[in-house]
């Protein structure tokens, strides 16, 4: 459903572009204004992770459906060092970068579906989905 928007992430300006495009794409569905903000924040967190840990990568945004439900899927992909301990990276307050450690666990709380695939040396792919109410 709908075309995919692919945004390369290489500078902090790209984080802003990605979350603005995500908000714009999601606003074509029936999301509430707070859901749109939540989607933009989640995109901000996962794209910043790309920049901080892998240096570069990409994020894909597309509209999806499941039965009669419509939503937005965000896939953040990088070929960086990967995450050694995914369970730990999803714990509140855990960070290897001196950040707040709320990026990944926070993004998980903001969306309906969250999937992360990562292995040391093999990059990281984070998939988020948020459905219309």
């Amino acid at each position: 459903m709908g075309a995919e928007r692919l945004i390369a992430i290489a500078t902090d300006r790209d984080i802003v572009t990605a979350r603005e495009e995500g908000r714009e794409l999601a606003s074509t569905l029936n999301f509430s204004p707070s859901d749109l903000t939540v989607i933009a924040v989640a995109i901000s967190e996962v794209t910043r992770n790309i920049l901080m840990y892998a240096g570069q990568g990409e994020v894909s945004l597309c509209l999806v459906d499941k039965g009669s439900r419509r939503g937005i899927a965000v896939v953040a992909r990088d070929h960086g060092p990967g995450i050694e301990n995914v369970a730990l990276a999803l714990e509140d307050g855990y960070s290897t970068s001196g950040g707040l450690g709320l990026g990944l666990p926070g993004a998980r709380r903001l969306v309906d579906e969250f999937d992360i695939r990562s292995a040391p040396g093999n990059g990281t792919t984070v998939t988020l989905r948020k459905w219309e109410r």
């Binding site: 707070s34 910043r48 709320l102 990026g103």
Partner: protein, 124 residues
């Protein structure tokens, strides 16, 4: 995007005009911390009304900024956090710690004025 900083009496007012990158947030922090000394300001107001996103980086930068301003002997008030932004911050688990917040610029100025009066009356 440069954030204009206005000097009004004893206060500095940083009025954010558009979405900020991480780099913009870092320069805002450094500019304000520098200008507080330059103008011998007693208070700083950061107006975030136009921000439609405050993520963990923005919140961390604003908290750090407020702490640095405190160490420079002035006070910080963040004004204009939008309802949807507040909602997303709470969902994400972000708080602004001990940083003062106010509804809008007017309330922010009133807060700083009240604090200044209290300071002059002796004791905090």
């Amino acid at each position: 995007m440069l954030v204009p900083i206005l000097k009004q009496g004893d206060y500095l007012i940083a009025s954010i005009q558009s979405a900020l990158t991480d780099t913009d947030l870092l320069s805002l922090r450094d500019d304000l911390v520098g200008q507080v000394g330059h103008y011998r300001s007693r208070g700083v107001i950061i107006d975030v009304t136009v921000l439609d996103v405050m993520d963990s980086f923005a919140v961390r930068m604003l908290s750090t900024l407020a702490q640095m301003i405190t160490l420079r002997g002035a006070e910080t008030v963040i004004v204009g956090i939008q309802p949807d932004v507040a909602f997303a911050m709470v969902q994400l688990g972000l708080t602004l710690g001990g940083v003062a917040t106010a509804l809008d610029l007017e309330e922010g100025l009133a807060y700083l004025n009240a604090r200044a009066k209290k300071g002059k009356a002796g004791g905090r």
